[in-house]
Amino acid sequence: MFLKPEPTIKDLKGLLESANFTLDQLLNMYYQMNLIREFEEAIGAKYYEGKNPFNMASGPIRGEMHLSSGQEAVAVGVGGNLRKEDVVVSTHRPHHHAIAKGTDIRKLAAEIFGKSTGLCGGKGGHMHLFDKEVRFSCSGIVGASFPQAAGAAFAFKYRGEDNVAVAFAGEGAANHGTFYETLNAASLWELPLIVVIEDNMYADSTPKSVALATPHHFQRAMSLNVPSFLVDGMDVIDVYLATRKAVQRARSGGGPSLIEAVTYRFRGHFEGDGQEYRERDEVELWRVMDPITRLGNRLTKLGVEKERLENERRKARERVEDALKFAEESPYPEPSTALVGVFK
């Protein structure tokens, strides 16, 4: 477990001041994290509709479903530093990254429901979200995000643009050859790439302890001369500030960085996961560190009224309700559209 000690209120104020970080920015992050959480919980609830007894093929949302509750701070802390032109390549657990990158949550929800109004017209579904508008993509194949983001970073450098590319991946994916291969190339060519290892302690049912020879990813990155940040992934401020440095470095031609964000997924690997591989107590322990509650407490200490926070949460909930309504009321695609689109 890696969690930084909670700063005192004085330190927190000082930190925000010296980092030129406003209360409004923090409130916006609070809203964003709530938006993600509300979205994930709403999708989670819908997913079980029509699935009693549990059967992946039934109900309004089919197939596997990987939710990110608990990991919001990583997505929002990173996303808060990105522009529309920056690229994000995500994984099989992509909703929080997509929302933090600014995808339209109506289209996002509609895609998850397999509707024609979805991001990909219903072709991709939850694990294959593509949004050219905000330069977001993802893959159901573990380890696939690293080189694709590096490719985009290559293009930015080649064209002299100061955009950055971000590859999100889990700690399980960091065992894949693509992790080392990509970091090596990116370091060698000084690409504007940021690799974010979202370490939530488990890859499916496999705990990090039986799959990694070192608890830390930054050690591996250092061996390839890639500067790294070890951050508290349950603390959006920590993630945000580290990413800001990495992004500045990348935009100014300094090359790649790695961000190792230690976090936790509150739900199973996928919906329906019996979670026999971990203890309830462990999950409860991490829940104490809920990144949303944690930020909420800090905002309260900084003088933000409880109602204001409640208001942000309500706004988030309403937007999610609207998105799900839109998704459910949208039509399914015409079956014949399945046969077009392999080539342009």
Partner: protein, 332 residues
């Protein structure tokens, strides 16, 4: 005992062989707690422990390569490739080494590796988790390709694989696993408790008929049988041949059937072009061209990835309605 689905059968086969022999080890992602997700290694961890049942890091290339190395010095690894769709991340070690070292070394090394993987769609898992792809493996010389459609076959063919000195890839269809979280399209089989082997290269005639032969494997065998049963009531007599292994392929049983019926429909859940359907067509016509009363036809995934949305997925994976229409068209 009565068994529902191929998962339990495959896991039991591995377990029984592991009890008898110490050279077998099981490796792959999530093979312990999760029984490789689709249950093919279920219960093995409890019985044999982490020494013989090993969760690997997510490193397909490496654990496939390790299997090659293990086999070269006398172990018989059973490797789980969770979904066949992930083969891209390990295919070099498979097709350039696992499949070739025996040949390249002039026969010095056998390559006793059993790879078990899950195939198929139909439950909304989309492009990267619903493919069949056995045609890719069958295309590369050196792999034996096993596609069981029921528990009895699954057990016998798995035990055969575990006694084979060659790399054998077993493709278990997700909708035949019998696991509660997926739709099940199989039946219940009487499966002997004791270990038994089924020969490779022996197709099975699941249903006798005289008007048309449907050749298929895995899940599609069940869809074909249900259609055949329905058509039987109308006097259309369909023979259903379950190929069971694509490599080696039982040309004998196939062509005997086609000589009898004069018509062949090949039914496949893999992509159409350059796939199993083309190969079977060629082999059958070269043995039974003169006996054909009509051109051979095929139904397969029409060269598009498997889309996510339900109506789209149904459009591309052959379903019973389409199989029925095709058969009616061919016999009319």
């Amino acid at each position: 005992m009565r068994m529902k689905g191929i998962s339990q059968a495959i896991a039991q086969a591995i377990s029984q062989e592991m009890e008898r022999r110490s050279d077998i080890v099981v490796l792959g992602e999530d093979v312990t707690y999760w029984g490789a997700v689709f249950g093919f290694t279920m219960g093995l961890f409890d019985k044999f422990g982490r020494k013989r049942v090993v969760d690997t890091p997510i490193t397909e290339q490496t654990f496939m390569g390790m299997a090659v190395g293990m086999a070269s010095v006398g172990l018989h690894p059973v490797v789980s490739l969770m979904f066949v769709d992930f083969l891209g991340a390990g295919f070099d070690q498979m097709y350039n080494h696992m499949a070739k070292n025996h040949y390249m070394s002039g026969g010095q090394f056998p390559m006793p590796v059993t790879v078990i993987t899950a195939i198929g769609g139909g439950y909304g898992d989309a492009e990267q988790h619903s493919q069949v792809l056995y045609g890719l493996f069958a295309h590369v010389p050196g792999f034996k390709v096993v596609v069981p459609s029921n528990a009895y076959d699954a057990k016998g063919l798995t035990i055969r694989a575990l006694r084979d000195p060659n790399p054998v890839v077993i493709f278990g269809h997700k909708l035949l696993t019998g696991l509660p979280f997926l739709p099940y399209e199989g039946g219940e089989d009487e499966v002997p408790e004791e270990p038994y082997e089924l020969e490779f290269g022996k197709a099975s005639v699941r249903m006798e008929g005289s008007d048309l032969t449907v050749a298929s494997a895995g899940l599609m065998v069940h869809r074909a049988m249900r259609v055949a049963e329905k058509l039987r009531k109308e006097g259309i007599s369909v023979e259903v041949v379950d190929l069971r292994t694509l490599v080696p392929l039982d040309e004998e049983t196939l062509s005997r059937s086609v000589k009898k019926t004069g018509r062949l429909l090949i039914l496949d859940e893999d992509y159409m072009s350059y796939g199993m359907t083309g190969e079977v067509t060629f082999r059958v016509q070269s043995r039974a061209l003169r006996d054909l009363k009509a051109p051979i036809q095929r139904l397969a995934v029409p060269d598009v990835p498997i889309p996510f949305s339900e109506p789209l997925e149904k459009e591309v994976i052959p379903g019973e309605a389409r199989i029925e229409a095709k058969i009616r068209e061919m016999v009319s």
